[in-house]
Symmetry: C2
Subunit: 347 residues, 2 copies
């Protein structure tokens, strides 16, 4: 969902730039920017398709689902499957090809028409039924054995589409049925972002023989006030990543997603300037396959369209090798718009 | 001007897809998209800065100006210079450093504040005077020796800022004064876009074992209906490029820019499928330097933010080695919005 997700804006609230960086408190809140709203208003057909194109070209994403379904085909054969937010219908096609008796493919956007066409063109119209609605409105003539969905947002929870999967699980899944993927973990790690700093700060200090550092300052301030959703190098990590949360999608309740919090102590592995904290996730697709099937969006894995989400402190804080960086991290759902989360990092 | 320029939309009017490709008539008209209009309405400060950042990081662009000014410093020493659309003021700074007695730096956007700051921070406030206005409103206490401006758009003429330079030249330049750059040529060449075709057509034909070619068709149709402003490889060129026009910025009149037209016959150098025609430009900055200084945006030169503009036919037309492809090409200024051009290619 790159094209729309990337158009969000985070508000960065620093207590004071004068404070000791160790005392910095950062609160970041997702808000749709004017551009994103304009983009919602003007629902350009290709923009929409381009989002799906991006996702369809995301090989680690597709491989996790196709491996999971092929290596666990016995869980699909003659079974009833629900695909929550089917998009172009690719996951439904995987399920149908694996032998599902029936696939209900739910899609609220106009993309349901494209899915209908692709399913017909690939000869699966008898097995896959497209339902053009939000899943919360869907009633089915039977309960399903499997729920499959690609609902994951940036740092897993952005967009909160997991709530729709939970709703479907509660109402439409057989007792003993399974949700795919089954679990997801969010990771957090302090980062240096040295390349970023060189490119956006150092570059302007001697620009064609002039001092353009005030351009660099303005660019940095702007970039640091937005969610930095970019692939970062694992060399930027300043510590061992820690697990922020581990969610079992077969059990989690929506109430548990309102506020997630944790206290962390990171041991700094090299003396550097700390720019902020990176977040990413992995999801487990192993089920009963003989080898683990993990979709991993970490900096050291093959890049995905989720990249990593970096939350900046607003300053580059000097940290020493061996130092402990202690923070309290909260992801809080917005009261007004539950699709948005605030991430706050407090020392 | 990437960020705003890239948000334009071309209308592609094919006479009929059933016709012989040799008979295809393409008319492309620039129109601001809803997104671009929204972006105009909501003049986000960083969006604006990011456009300047892109231009400031364009090394071939900056090098042409700085080489020109350094190698022709005698044309600047103790002279009066006008910088039309100074942006962050970098060209004015080059001119001041080369010894200009006075630089009038005209900037209509809010970027004039940034320019003011940078000029002050670099100690040139005594030499460079920022004028916050459109150049058409500017009156000066003296005529200038040199007009310097970076006004060039995609395929040179997009955005038509050249008209402002002509206005300044007519009213504010001394007789015998010079305009930098001095000349510009637009080139045209038929292109195969094989990489593009493989990526956007062939990719979907066997997508994870399914036929997703209708996705590819829709993506191609959408992409082919917009100006494709991307860096293309010189290996995509199907013929020797030809000069579409050669404009002397010291002499050209605005009336000459209303409609530019030419008949071309390209000898095809290899049997291929022809996707359309690429346009690019170069500008001459040599003046009296002992070696040529050319800003060249061709596919075989170092990439710039102008890239190349490809106009698609809407079909991939089979062409044979040795075949002559004959087309009439017109760039026509829009009556309603002179900043927009229609490009039509007719066989």
């Amino acid at each position: 969902m790159e094209a729309t997700r990337a158009c969000t804006k985070l508000q960065l609230l620093l207590m004071s730039e004068e404070e000791d960086p160790g005392e910095v408190q950062v609160e970041i809140q997702d808000q749709p920017s004017a551009q994103a709203q304009a983009s919602d208003d003007y629902f350009h057909s290709y923009s929409d398709l381009s989002v799906h194109e991006l996702m369809l070209r995301d090989q680690p994403r597709l491989t996790a689902y196709s491996d999971c379904i092929e290596k666990n085909a016995h869980l699909f054969q003659s079974k009833v499957v629900l695909d929550v937010g089917c998009g172009t219908g690719i996951l439904s096609l995987f399920a149908a090809r694996a032998g599902a008796r029936k696939v209900y493919a739910v899609e609220a956007s106009e993309m349901h028409k494209k899915a209908e066409t692709l399913i017909k063109e690939n000869g699966y119209s008898d097995t896959i039924e497209i339902i053009h609605d939000v899943v919360e409105n869907v009633k089915l003539p039977e309960k399903v054995d499997v729920i499959i969905s690609e609902w994951m947002g940036f740092y897993l929870l952005h967009e909160s589409m997991l709530a729709s999967v939970i709703d479907a699980r509660e109402r439409l899944l057989k007792e003993g049925g399974i949700v795919i993927p089954s679990t997801g973990k969010i990771y957090i790690c302090p980062v240096a972002m040295e390349h970023f700093r060189k490119q956006h700060v150092d570059y302007w200090k001697a620009y064609h023989g002039f001092d353009f550092s005030s351009i660099g300052d303005e660019i940095m301030t702007a970039k640091m006030s937005t969610p930095f959703v970019e692939q970062i190098s694992s060399s930027e990590l300043l510590s061992r990543p820690q697990e922020f949360t581990n969610i079992d999608f077969n059990k989690v309740e929506t109430a548990e997603l309102v506020s997630l919090t944790g206290d962390f102590s990171f041991e700094v592995e090299r003396t550097a300037q700390m720019a902020g904290f990176a977040f990413w996730f992995d999801c487990d697709f192993t089920l009963e396959s003989s080898f683990p099937i993990i979709l991993d969006t970490s900096p050291s894995s093959e890049p995905t369209h989720w990249k990593q989400t970096t939350v900046f402190l607003g300053v580059f804080a000097d940290v020493q090798k061996g130092e402990q960086v202690e923070v309290k991290v909260t992801m809080q759902q917005d009261d007004m718009n539950p699709r948005h989360y605030s991430i706050s990092i407090q020392s």
